[in-house]
Amino acid sequence: MSKDSKKGGISRRKFLQGVGSGIIGSYVLTPGIAKAAEALKKNSEKLILSVPLTLKVNGKQAHLLVEPRTTLAEVLREKLGLTGTKVACNNGECGGCTVLLDKKAVYSCHILALDAEGKEVTTIEGIMKGENLHPIQQAFIDHDGLQCGFCTPGQVMAAEALLLKNPKPTRQDVLEGMSGNVCRCAAYPNIIESVLAAAEKAGSETAELK
């Protein structure tokens, strides 16, 4: 699986080991990690305190109290009830939990909720236009780009990030943009078709507007 830089970053496991043994300096120091480390330092009885967090998810503000170690995926699923985001590996390897962070695709199991503060989080629940399906969702349905459906929200979000960045992707661009999302049913041929079709439809609609 090619690892796109967009989905890089620090593994949660390494982060926890880092925080635990006080060697976080050897990892990328994100604001969330700094905040988590501070919370740990203040707190000698080893009880991890929850810290306040304001997240903007699908256009709505949510005020939360979370343990610093909490991932964005956990917050979305467990605190906000947004279970469309699936956790299939919890290790940044499968793409099931892909959401948008400031319009870029991220593995939400792989970043801390604290690091999403101040950014726009978009999940599968947030991309419909009212009652209408997003064109990518429609394309996945029309082109049978899914089977069991478990990876589908992640696939749709990866496709959305790709098309936001590159509205006219080539087939090769689609392969690259979607390569971080595993589909074990292997609906790949139809996933590729779905993304290309969604791009084409959006392109023709833009042309009409002009």
């Binding site: 699986m1 090619s2 699923r77 009830g81 279970t83 469309g84 985001t85 699936k86 956790v87 299939a88 590996c89 919890n90 290790n91 390897e93 499968c94 099931g96 999940t123 599968i124 629940e125 419909m128 399906l133 969702q137 429609q138 996945f140 349905i141 049978d144 899914l146 089977q147 069991c148 459906g149 478990f150 990876c151 589908t152 929200p153 749709v156 689609v174 392969l175 979607m178 390569s179 999302n181 595993v182 589909c183 074990r184 049913c185 292997a186 609906a187 790949y188 041929p189 139809n190 996933i191 590729i192």
Partner: protein, 756 residues
Amino acid sequence: MENIDLLYHARGESKFIDDLRLPSDALYAAIFYSSTGHGRILSLDLRDALLMPGVKAILTSKDIPGENQIGGVIADETLLAEDEVHYAGQPIALVVAESPECARKAVKKIKVLFDELPVVLDPREAFRKGSFIIPPRIFSMGNTSLAWDNCLVIVEGRAETGAQEHLYLETQGSVAYPTDSGSLKVTSSTQAPTAVQRAVSRVTGLPMNKIEVEASRLGGGFGGKEDQANSFAAMAALSALKLNRPVKLVLSRQEDLRITGKRHPYSSDFKLGLDSEGRILAYEVTFYQNAGASADLSPAILDRTLFHCTNSYFVPNVKATAYSLRTNLPPMTAFRGFGAPQGMFAIESAIFKAAEKMGVEPSYLQEKNLLKEGDAFPYGQSAEGCRAKESWLAALETFETGEIKNRIEKFNRENQFFKKGFAFMPICFGISFTNASMNQAGALVHIYSDGSIGISTAAVEMGQGVNMKLRQIASAIFQVSLDKIKIEPANTTRVANTSPTAASAAADLNGKALEKACNELLERLLNAAALKLKTEDKPVIINEEILLKEEKTGLKWEDLVKMAFDERMDLTSHAHHITPGIYFDKLLNQGRPFNYHVYGTGVVEVTLDCLRGTYTVDSLKAIHDSGKPLNPLIDRGQAEGAAIQGLGWLTMEEIAYASKGPLLSDSLSAYKVPDVYFSPGELDIRFLKASDNPRGIFNSKAIGEPPFMYAIGVFFALYNAIKEFRPEVRMDFTAPLTNERLLLALYSKEKNTVTA
């Protein structure tokens, strides 16, 4: 055609087990499992774990009120280990706590001491030690010992295939709720609600009528949740019963990888004899099946290997012996193909080797020996409606394989370090559970007084589109639109005593039962219409309107249903279906185990980078016999997905165990599965035209498993590419053919043989 499941999946609204909202008093379980492949438990120290705040209980085998047994075929598997562990990953204790995190933290505080015992991971070693799961199974036809004398060419060799992880993206999981009157409701990510119900009953000691099991949908199953969902549901149920609170158990990816069984690794010895014209005269094969620590479904899988050991070829003299061997690995289990791919890989290896020896192309031998109408399989059944040759010829013509060959030859002449290879892969796959009693299904149909329809069967939707197919069947019979038809989750209180959604047969079996139930209701409704219209003629329904002698009557579907309700007619029907005419004598190993066979021919083309040992699968094309496909869009998706999963099995998916038994490839960074890049540039699966199948539902054929085996061609296509670079190489038939093995084959200095 609108598939309602897709809509909710695409919106992220479909609820899987881990998405269910639980009551606030729910608890969460986590499994403490063995870290060693074989050992006696000297001590189990739960104290520190029990002292953790939030931990409610830790359950061991001593807490099981019923039987500590989940072996469905053979009673050889405990739910929780007693005094010995037989594989790394074997569950020993269950922690039940207020949160999953708390339960997992407590698991880490459990201390166990083992007296380590010898670990056996290799099936041939288990064979030498006599560790058989069941007595040897032998299928034979003709007389091979007499036939060898007539053979001009005889080849012998070994074929090895590796394990394969299911990697359903939704891990195993279950929620159990205590309900009134000492009963339990269990929701499970299972392909087999009745099997879960039986397992829970056995473990809890409750009768089956006090256990309701429901499966709404699965985030992938592929066989991995046919038998192995049972234990996790039983664990959730046991915990719920003990604590009298709802309990959820959902495995983490790593737990799932370590605890659950995979596709069986096989090691096989083959001997193939042919006459001067390339006709196969005799085939002897011995399969060593690595069953893992307990039987699970291994005996049935072993049989399916034997049933498919001659693939789509006629072999007059066959002796096939199969051993199911107990090793210290997690119990291996069902996986798409159910033993057939392993059997088919062995004979394809033998044919490849014979072709090498005879200096002909393997496809020459493959074509020459294809089954013809009426040819006998080595288990007493003969080929009926045989489409082996038809699909082969259609593949030659449709895909212009002659052109492909010329193009590849030209490419190989012009390129030094990139070589192309190409191979044919014919398939023949029998449809039915080979355990005849499992070929039954029930369907319950309600027509509600507003004309909407609810359907219950045992079919579990897991991406194969069975819900859509069932809706199509009801829609065709009642002549109502799809949006009037809802498929209910499989639930043991609505349809009882059911078979798993497996063996590619869910649409066939449940569809036939549904057809019967719908037809009964239709008959009642039409009689009511005739009464109302005061006619002796039989009205018909077309597009929700009641017609009499091709004239509209003004009566619509809703009117008819309302009228029937007012007339106090029963608008519910239950029907039961059994596959007719199938039987199998397990002593003689003769009978008619299959309702029908699925045929097809695949063609695989690869390009190998001979410097790096990397490759691309340029195309996988196939002419596939799906009868009259019930839903061509769904069936094509199934065929493509199966083929890609097969490509993974033969190439990149490599399971590694440490010598003491623990799984090394326990994450997706260590275990690679096909991604969108790996998907063949051209994946072109077409349905054989002018086919039908009176034995299938609406003349269709089962689709889930057969196309998996087209992928076997990739192994031989890669082998051909290697030979273009290094003509003298004679490689072992060992799959998966990983990049590492490819590089060894390209450059190893070992003379003429490469053992990776």
